[in-house]
């Protein structure tokens, strides 16, 4: 195996090329520009389509059109750009097309900043666009994992005719790690029975998200939901660390998950029985596994780089099986392991109760002046 040092954004872009990306359409926004830049050179080099669009609106709708041809297509952006793309994401979902989207999250709301954040969890996992649809969202914590999820994202998108999102933050986009990339594969354009690629020798096809007859639109919605049920059944992914004998479980995804890993190890070295559950598919969320985990630990700490967006999914899964605590950093701040270690120590000393609201307790701690 040959490992090479790759920057996250570039590794993801190159992985997409190697697994047969045929069209990329994007718009510059930090901290994901290296994806656009890498593909601006690579795609023409291998004779594939690349367009720097006039806006994220343009980009997502170019991807929408390109997906209609049945080709493997992708776009990428960062939080404010994703907000702008939500219109197109909803249309793509309504048209039932396979599209891969890379979201390299940054601090917000608004223009915010370009620092790493996880503030897009809600807008990506739970809509953002109008209507009832569910993107498949994969949240890697390392560059190798991100690279490995690229072919999977395409496969899932194509299998379920669904949007698949790789959700990372600026730090994974910008950092470098040793990576083994997939081999270059030949492009195989699938002959989908729905692709609008010219009605040569066949009946014409129409791709649309418009269903004026409400009963038919309801049927489409039900079909999407049945498909989502399948996805929930088949496509749960997560990683567990030190959970066998754990009394405290930390739950975090992506960068906050890997930062928590350092804290868990430090706590273990102090004799605290703590482990880490790191969801990789955050949508579908591993609710059953988290519920089961809640049944065998004394308390759960959720760590995020937002104000508890995934926490709500954890709360739904956990119910009153275990008391919850939350620790979040906001606005582009990445927590240091010591901060999370402090939370673990606090919980180990005084286990939280089932009463009250973990978000309120966290907010009170965050806004109380330190002694």
């Amino acid at each position: 195996m040959t490992r090479e040092l790759w920057k996250g954004n570039e590794a993801i872009a190159e992985a997409a090329v190697r697994v047969g990306l045929e069209g990329y359409f994007g718009y510059p926004i930090t901290p994901q520009n290296e994806i656009l830049e890498w593909l601006s050179q690579r795609m023409p080099e291998v004779g594939r389509a690349f367009v720097q669009a006039e806006s994220e609106l343009g980009a997502i709708n170019m991807v929408y059109g390109a997906a209609c041809t049945g080709a493997r297509v992708m776009t990428s952006s960062s939080s404010p750009g994703i907000s702008l793309m939500q219109e197109g994401i909803s249309y793509i979902a309504g048209t039932e097309l396979p599209v891969v989207l890379i979201d390299v999250m940054r601090g917000g709301p608004g223009l915010g900043n370009i620092a790493p954040s996880q503030g897009d969890y809600s807008q990506i996992c739970h809509g953002g666009g109008h209507g009832d649809y569910h993107p498949i969202v994969l949240a890697p914590a390392s560059i190798q994992e991100a690279v490995d999820l690229v072919p999977l994202a395409f496969d899932l998108a194509e299998k379920y005719l669904n949007i698949a999102v790789i959700l990372i933050d600026g730090s994974i986009g910008q950092m470098m790690e040793p990576v083994e990339l997939p081999e270059m594969r030949p492009v195989v354009r699938k002959d989908y029975p729905w692709a609008t690629n010219g009605a040569i020798g066949r009946k014409r096809r129409v791709l649309s998200s418009i269903y004026l007859e409400v009963s038919i639109e309801e049927e489409v919605n039900l079909r999407l939901l049945k498909r989502w049920e399948e996805i929930q059944k088949n496509e749960i992914r997560f990683k567990e660390y030190y959970l066998d004998d754990a009394e405290i479980a930390v739950i975090g995804f992506g960068t906050s998950g890997r930062v928590a890993l350092s804290a868990v190890r430090a706590a273990r070295s102090q004799g605290i029985k703590v482990g880490l559950f790191r969801p990789i598919s955050v949508s579908p969320f591993p609710a059953r596994q988290v519920a089961e985990l809640a049944g065998r630990v004394k308390s759960i700490l959720v760590v995020e780089m937002n104000a508890g967006q995934m926490l709500k999914d954890v709360q739904l899964a956990v119910g009153d099986r275990a008391p919850l605590e939350f620790y979040g950093r906001l606005g582009g701040v990445v927590p240091f392991p010591n901060e999370i270690l402090g939370e673990i120590q606090r919980i180990a000393k005084q286990p939280p109760s089932l009463d009250g609201n973990p978000t309120q307790r966290w907010l009170a701690r965050m806004t109380t002046p330190k002694k």
Binding site: N61, M62, Y64, G65, A66, G88, Y91, A199
Partner: protein, 259 residues
């Protein structure tokens, strides 16, 4: 009567590129005329089976029901972006958008300008009837000064609501545009000229000569609150002075192609 169906007497029939579907357009609307011209051109060029249309949001939202080509339905204003995506993946196919003035000149201004600037090899048929038809006759970016609409009930006040946008003139300034003309659908002579322009626009695409657009001055008797016949006169009298007919961009390479 029987003789009329004999081939030598046949002067008018449904183009093959039309589906057997009655349109939903209001009586007297020129959308039907524009659709027919496109279908006739597709027939003549024998490109129906390799053409992919992009329908807009607006009155022509159901354009995909009427033409016998593959079709996709875009979000409001985004047809040129969607067409870009399709054409870049399928360069040997013919891709066209069909857009109204609200779609193209208001919400989709960014997409159309940049598709033209990039010289995308797509063809745009732009229906300018100076009003939002589908949503109930509101002021469009092409509504004339003083013109009454449901959102400019006292007439478009340029002090408050600005001036109409001349898209053909604007897009003609872009180097990526190969062919940009304005025609009208208010009488047979102009309809024939419009068809010729649509033919040329598709030829431009087949020759790979960049972005092509035919702006068609059209009527909306319902939105304008006049009879269909009156609407034709109204178009000639009021719209043509504001939106002069003519060729705004014929690039040297387009001028060189023989039709």
């Amino acid at each position: 009567m029987a003789t009329i169906v004999q081939l030598e007497n046949l002067v008018y029939s449904r183009p093959a590129a039309f589906t057997d579907t009655p349109t939903h357009y209001c009586p007297g609307c020129t959308h039907g005329t524009a659709h027919r011209l496109i279908a006739e051109v597709l027939d003549e060029m024998k490109i129906t089976d390799r053409t992919i249309g992009v329908a807009p949001v607006g009155c022509a939202v159901f354009a995909y029901n009427y033409m016998d080509t593959d079709f996709v339905e875009a979000a409001h204003g985004r047809a040129p972006a969607m067409a870009t995506g399709i054409k870049r993946l399928l360069p040997d196919r013919v891709v066209f958008t069909y857009q109204g003035d609200g779609d193209l000149a208001s919400i989709g201004m960014g997409e159309i300008v940049h598709a033209a600037a990039r010289g995308e090899n797509i063809t745009v048929v732009f229906i300018n009837n100076a009003i939002y038809g589908m949503t109930g006759g509101q002021m469009a970016p092409t509504t004339l000064p003083g013109m009454k609409t449901t959102s400019s009930p006292s007439g478009r006040d340029v002090e408050l609501q600005g001036y109409p946008i001349r898209m053909a003139e604007m897009l003609a300034t872009l180097d990526g545009a190969g062919y940009v003309v304005r025609r009208s659908l208010h009488d047979p002579k102009n309809i024939r000229l419009a068809k010729k322009a649509i033919r040329t626009a598709f030829e431009v695409q087949l020759h790979g000569l960049g972005f092509s657009m035919v702006e068609l001055l059209s009527t909306c008797s319902t939105g304008w609150g006049v009879t269909p016949v009156e609407s034709l006169g109204w178009l000639e009298q009021h719209m043509i002075p504001a939106f002069p007919l003519g060729d705004y961009k014929i690039s040297p390479s387009v001028a060189a192609i023989k039709l």
